[in-house]
Amino acid sequence: MPKLLAIDFLLILASAWAAIGLAGLAAPRNTRFISKILFPLGALVALCVGGVGLCALGAPAETAVLGIGLPDLPFHLRLDNLTAVFVMLLGCVSVGISIYAAGYFRDGAGTAPGLLCLEYHVFLASMLMVLLADDAYAFMVAWETMALSSFFLVTTNHQHAEIRRAGYLYLLIAHVGAIAILLSFGVMTANSGDYTFAGMRAQQLSPFWASAAYLLALVGFGAKAGLLPVHVWLPEAHPAAPSPVSALMSGVMLKTAIYGLLRVSFDLVGTPLWWWGVVALAVGLATALFGVLYATVQSDMKRLLAYSSIENIGLLAVGIGLALIFHSYRMEALAALALTAVFYHCLAHAGFKSLLFLCTGSVLHATKERNLGKLGGLIHRMPWVAWLALVGVIASAGLPPLSGFVSEWLLLQGFLFSPGLPHSWLNMVVPVAAALVALVAALAGFAMVKFYGIIFLGQMREAALKDAHDAGLWEKVGLVWLALLTLLLGVMPATVILRIDAATRQLLGKGLAERIDDHGWWLLAPIAPARASYAPILFLVTIVLSVWLGRWLVHRLYHGRVRRSPAWDCGYFFQGPRAQDTAEGFSQPIRRIFEPMFRMERHFPSARDTAPYYSVKVEDHFWHWLYLPIARLAGWISTLITNLQGGRIAIYLMYSFVTLIVLLLVARP
């Protein structure tokens, strides 16, 4: 009996996902069967996928050839360490999301549950196939399956016009990106006709063509990830999709784009040029700053999170850029530091952003409300969701001791080494870029306080919120899983980095393992303990201990008496919920300080208005300056072309005749 390889396991698991999806079709309206049997089964498969990914880390690469597809063009598949990291991510995160989904999807308008189950599991399976693909053909097929299945998931509630519009925008930009990726693969095959990744690696591209392939990949994968200026679909599609789907797209699908970018720029095109890194760094910084600024001014909770995802993708691009710069100068140890930060941030973001999206799902179910201005005080009604969301919020704000801080710390450490670059001005400009990263991190804290404070704290802004209920059991389990993931990634960075180091070594030939290994699991010291170290467990223990000790001592030495009374508020008697900050009010300082970054339409009442009202509408500059002109141009060209359509057969025959003549003239031997 032939030995079963890890890659065969993964193929079996992908087929299992597809089978679960098809089983949903058997009883498309039986919600109980689908949500309580099929989705938990999917979670079980996801757990296996995560486990296989974890085990495959550090193992030698495995390949497989799958004889489906076109004749003479089979699917080549490969499981190496880079793939394994992302397979692990896909598995671990989707366990939580699938369990949550088991409690989330209910009867109602929109796509039938059975169809939803099919789309959901095909989406999962196609993401796995994207990671496994080892030739351009298989990659594109899986990539398109992923785009289409997620499109159908986004448009689950297709009876609303704005959701159809969001889905259309998503599909459009996904295809612009897909074209760029296809062209990038085309450049890399260099007319050899060999579409396997192994063939691309063997090509020796000239610097010009290598740069072309890299830039096309940056645009293509950037469109999927949400880099500027092709980010506009994200804040539309995420609020439109059901929350588990938003979580899956933001947590996992965006990371497949990061995977693709890493695969092309570090693996397929050969040695990078130094300015590739600068391009990624600049785009990443712009994206991160843009994303976080817009996140702070949103009034829709899911849009806020979507912009926050754009910010995180920007930070990932910054990390990739830094790693590329170091890599191009053969400073592999430092490149490994930056690349580890990228991998870590992928894992961290997948965990905490899925968690936050799922929390918004629970809030949405409990209140039927996405608008921050109509929420508030939910910590009293939904303590589970509120405390678990706090975990996500702290991680997302990049604060210790949770996962977001580790990657940020690694990234800043990478920047601290950039003065050593052997380049006349890069070694001065790059460290200053760290200032912007610091600003982004600090602004993320502002956005997260707004998100949490306005949804969960304060007084309830609407009377209907009194009836809100906490999440159900399935939902709680899913949330707890993701919160635990965030906590583990936060307090055990050395252990995790030792596991994912195999991927870094594969791409750069050098990793951080030998340096980290000496200090024990509790201390993260990527270079040397005297140079920089971070021991989150010690950190956590000190804080918890002093909180507990402080409380015990105070109660022991003095007393623990508590009296309840109405809030004081400097003696003001009007303390209704309307006296609190609105979502717009909370972000007013940002709108004022960063005014040129926003396109705003504001209305202020004058002193004599009898019915005064305030309004502010914030729009994206890119819509106005980039997308609307392109849309107008496309419309204009289409009108021109309709002029050709006269409706008389003689004219059409004439067109064919003229075309033929022109072709004959051009193709004359």
Binding site: P419, P431, V432, L457, A532, Y534, A535, Y558, Q575, D581
Partner: protein, 318 residues
Amino acid sequence: MISISGLIGQLFAIALALALAPLLSGWVGMCRAWLQSRTAPPLWQPYYMLHKLFHKDVVLAEGASSLFRVAPFVMFGCMVLACAIVPSLSTDLPFAPAADALALVGVFGLARIFIALAAMDIGTSFGTLGGRREMLIGFLAEPALLMVIFTVAMIAQSTSVATIVETLAHRDFYIHPSLAFAGVAFTFVSLAENARVPVDNPATHLELTMIHEAMILEYSGRHLALIEWAASLKLYAYSCLGLAFFFPWGIAAGDSFPALLAAIPLLVLKLAIGGVLLAGIETINAKLRIFRAPEFLGTAFLLAVLGLLVRLLLETKL
């Protein structure tokens, strides 16, 4: 790995911080009163305050959630950790590997988030106002602080605070012009972070101008005591961080007992001088409008970046 004497030194440093921090606040208040021709409260006033507050009942607002009750303890814990990491007497601190200078910024950030969220918890107008303004000051000050740390870390080739102090204090003496820029920026940031005069006024209850006070309006009893204590610990930690970066002489390198004993009077002296300067700054400046704070902290940020550039341009051997 962790020596007993190191651990004792560490615990001693924490105990010293807990004891000295209210004294520092009292000293600053005293100097301020003198400079403003007022009769100064006694130096021990903050201790009386803490004792009184711990005795009082906690009067909890009706809408308060459990987060509101946890936040003062978390803030206090964060500040204790910060004081444990920043070398005040000796650089031989067993807790130092727990967090380097970057993580120290994270500790302050964690405390800030908790107190800002607690301020929003009751849902009063002043609470949310305070929380929003605190986060505003926070996101303006944090990048500047990080850039200061970057400058210092590049000189010392390390982000570990203990290593920075060792490099700056116990090796050959160099003059670093970049440190002058960083020092000014750090002063600006510390004023803002500790709710001091050009940005906030610790003595105000003038409703529309307050930041820190607005956040803690609803706190009382032991919760308020912990917050006040944590605020003075924060001032102490910032002062020690400034001393460690810019005037590190006198901090003992090892954990020998005589060296530690010698470091105490020097630390007290340095803190006392710092307190006088702080009171002086607070007296000769007027409080800025809240929307002038971005300019103030923007200046700090630019100075810190300038310091970094000076370091990279002039001080790196080409």
